[in-house]
């Protein structure tokens, strides 16, 4: 009570995780786990394909299928997990 919340973020030396925006993080996540790569390979990556990928992710994770990068989805993406892709390619 009284001490303001620190909102200054720094880069810690040796920290592997880079500070990225949620959008960058989500794109990388969707690609890494197989949700985006099919569309990307055929050169069709767009807002629509990202939305479809997000819907598929949301369905897999039991979230509301909004197709939007909402708070619940980004939170779920940040959970610890296995590195094997979810979607077969």
């Amino acid at each position: 009570f009284g001490r303001p919340l620190k909102s200054v973020f720094i880069t810690f030396p040796g920290d592997i995780i880079r500070n990225t925006t949620d959008r960058e993080f989500a794109d990388s996540y969707l690609e890494r786990f197989g949700y985006l790569s099919v569309q990307k390979r055929s050169g069709l990556q767009s807002a629509t394909s990202t939305s479809k990928a997000l819907k598929r992710l949301q369905r897999n994770l039991g979230l509301e299928e909004t197709g939007q990068l909402d708070e619940a989805t980004i939170e779920a993406m940040k959970q610890p997990r296995c590195g094997v892709p979810d979607v077969r390619n």
């Binding site: 200054v8 920290d15 897999n60 994770l61 959970q79 590195g83 094997v84």
Partner: protein, 572 residues
């Protein structure tokens, strides 16, 4: 559930695995156990069996690594990606990799197994009380040698049970020093080091020399993580330094300030602003057992499930009392079928044996042998040693291998492998003995045969018997439930095995030697610490678990792992 494209699966059911290295976060025996339990999750519901190899190529090679660890899928530091595994197949296929930037535990905070002390390797009990003060981690308080220790019950003041915690001052892992502790200071490339270092390595693992000069002796080992050590950052292995200064503020505990991911961190020197030395604070960690069970599911051919409660769901969640979800069971049984249960054997009549209870201080036979008691144990018509998966006891008596099981025994000549005779009734040759023999050995000097069953033992000299007597007479404490194996050594000494420990018995003095028990894994590296039979055969030591044996040669190297029935008994 999902399976990999083309239903990738192993074309055999006797799967082998090999643990290539260990995480410094947990004692090796805890890691071995976590992996063994993780495999058992799958073997419990399929016909699959899992045998651990100690060299060569196994179907599933298990390893820990950080970031870029030799495959195209680097890990990402603490949290995020925990592990990955490849579907069944040759080469890297089937292998499982675990991110060693994670904090590996049993899922509920540091899993600290003690060594030495008086708690026989028990786990630390956090928090514990020492001199009225509560401790939530290992401490060096009360000691002058700087060795961290913990109590293994909630109250050291009351119970006085303690053991030493992992520390580089106590032992090292891997390397080429057989677990010897670090020697500080040591010299590496002309520089003097007073603590473990990652210098000279690209994988981030902390190491030390086990002599005063690495440059001249080239002896080294990896440092075990202390439970208080930070994880990751640039100070792995160092403890937090409280208070510390960060952006001109003073911190007395871990903080998430300065980070946008909410993770708790601390500085490992008094001033982060000046030194920039930091690491993440120890947390609950990830259950190696749960993550391994998931990864081994991939290694057997399962992809991710979208059922949240299934083991194969991609996200980690700690579960205290784990059981395999029906979705996982259906998935693995789709690939390999269900486990074939053994044919039920009708219950056997019990045996009533009346034996003289002696409490003599001498073990010289003083009584005439008792007449053989009437036994009602029939020899099962299908009693074939080759049908026995797990013997109660195996030992060499008069140059012949004796294999005991449920009131019966077989003999096999050490000269002619596969020449198995029997079964014979134990009660006909050694009438005082119970049906279950846990261990036995022949004292080569006196030709006396010692038999162990539960907490009792008998000594046969020809037809004369002494016993049963309590294990306590030999100097065993009351918490030793049974002797599981016996290994005659020279000069009237015999090693007796139980649980993770072994004792040296002076047969003439009829007492275990001082300085025992000792840990099996410290003297017999690479064998299972839960072997149920240990015996000597043709100069090699055999450690048996289930149907498998680990053979150790006279140089104490495990040179073969295999099936007892095929390799030793030469069963068809």
């Amino acid at each position: 559930y999902q399976t990999f494209e083309g239903d990738l699966k192993w074309d055999h059911t006797d799967i082998t695995y090999r643990i290539l290295n260990y995480s410094p976060d947990m004692e090796a025996s805890l890691i071995d156990d976590a992996f063994a339990r993780a495999f058992k999750v799958w073997s419990d519901v399929t016909p699959l069996t899992f045998t651990r190899l100690y060299d060569g190529t196994a179907d599933i090679m298990v390893s820990f690594g950080k970031a870029d660890h030799g495959d195209p899928y680097p890990f990402d530091g603490k949290d995020g990606l925990l592990a990955h595994a490849y579907p069944p197949g040759e080469g890297m296929q089937g292998d499982a990799h675990f991110d060693d930037d994670e904090f590996w535990t049993l899922g509920t905070g540091p899993a600290v197994k003690t060594r030495y002390g008086n708690a026989e390797g028990a786990m630390c009990n956090f928090p514990f009380i020492f001199e009225g003060k509560s401790y939530s981690s290992c401490t060096t308080e009360g000691r002058t040698d700087n060795l961290p220790w913990c109590a293994t019950t909630a109250n050291y003041d009351k119970d006085k049970k303690f053991g030493f915690c992992p520390s580089e001052l106590l032992y090292t892992i891997g390397g080429n020093s057989d677990g010897e502790p670090c020697v500080f200071p040591f010299v590496f490339l002309g520089e003097t080091y007073n603590g473990c270092t990652t210098d000279g390595r690209s994988d981030g693992y902390r190491w030390c020399a086990t002599t005063s000069s690495f440059d001249s002796d080239k002896k080294f080992g990896f440092c075990p993580s202390r439970d208080t050590a930070v994880i990751g950052g640039n100070s792995e292995g160092e403890p937090c330094h409280f208070p510390f200064k960060f952006m001109d503020e003073t911190y007395h505990s871990c903080t998430s300030d300065g980070r946008n991911d909410g993770k708790l961190w601390c500085a490992t020197t008094d001033d982060y602003d000046d030194d920039k030395k930091w690491g993440f604070c120890p947390d609950q960690g990830y259950s190696l057992f749960l993550v391994a069970a998931h990864e081994f599911g991939h290694a057997l051919g399962l992809e991710h499930s979208n059922i949240r409660e299934a083991l194969m769901f991609p996200m980690y969640k700690y579960v205290k009392d784990f059981s395999l979800h029906s979705d996982d069971v259906e998935g693995i049984q789709y690939l390999y079928g269900s486990r074939q249960k053994p044919d039920p054997i009708p219950p056997q009549p019990t045996t009533t044996i009346v034996s003289p209870v002696t409490d003599e201080e001498t073990l010289e036979p003083t009584s005439t042998p008792t007449p053989p008691p009437v036994t009602t144990v029939p020899i099962h018509p299908s009693s074939d040693a080759c049908q026995v998966d797990k013997f109660d006891c195996i030992t060499e008596i008069k140059g012949e291998l004796h294999l005991f099981k449920d009131g019966q025994y077989w003999r096999m000549s050490s000269e002619r492998d596969g020449d198995i005779q029997g079964p014979y009734r134990i009660s006909e040759r050694w009438p005082a003995l119970p049906d279950t023999i846990d261990a036995a050995f022949e004292d080569l000097l006196t030709k006396k045969i010692y038999f162990f069953s539960g907490r009792r033992f008998w000594v046969y000299t020809g037809p004369n018997v002494l016993g049963p007597r309590s294990l306590e007479k030999l100097g065993f404490k009351s918490n030793v439930e049974r002797i599981e194996g016996a290994l005659p050594r020279t000069k009237g000494k015999v090693l007796l095995f139980s649980g993770e420990n072994y004792w040296r018995l002076d047969v003439k003095a009829q007492l275990v030697d001082r300085g025992y028990p000792r840990y099996i894994d410290l003297a017999f590296g690479g064998v299972p610490v839960d072997a149920h039979d240990v015996f000597l055969h043709k100069g090699n030591i055999y450690f048996c678990r289930d149907r498998f044996y680990w053979r150790m040669n006279s140089r104490r190297q495990v040179d073969r792992v295999g099936y007892l029935k095929y390799d030793v008994l030469k069963c068809p």
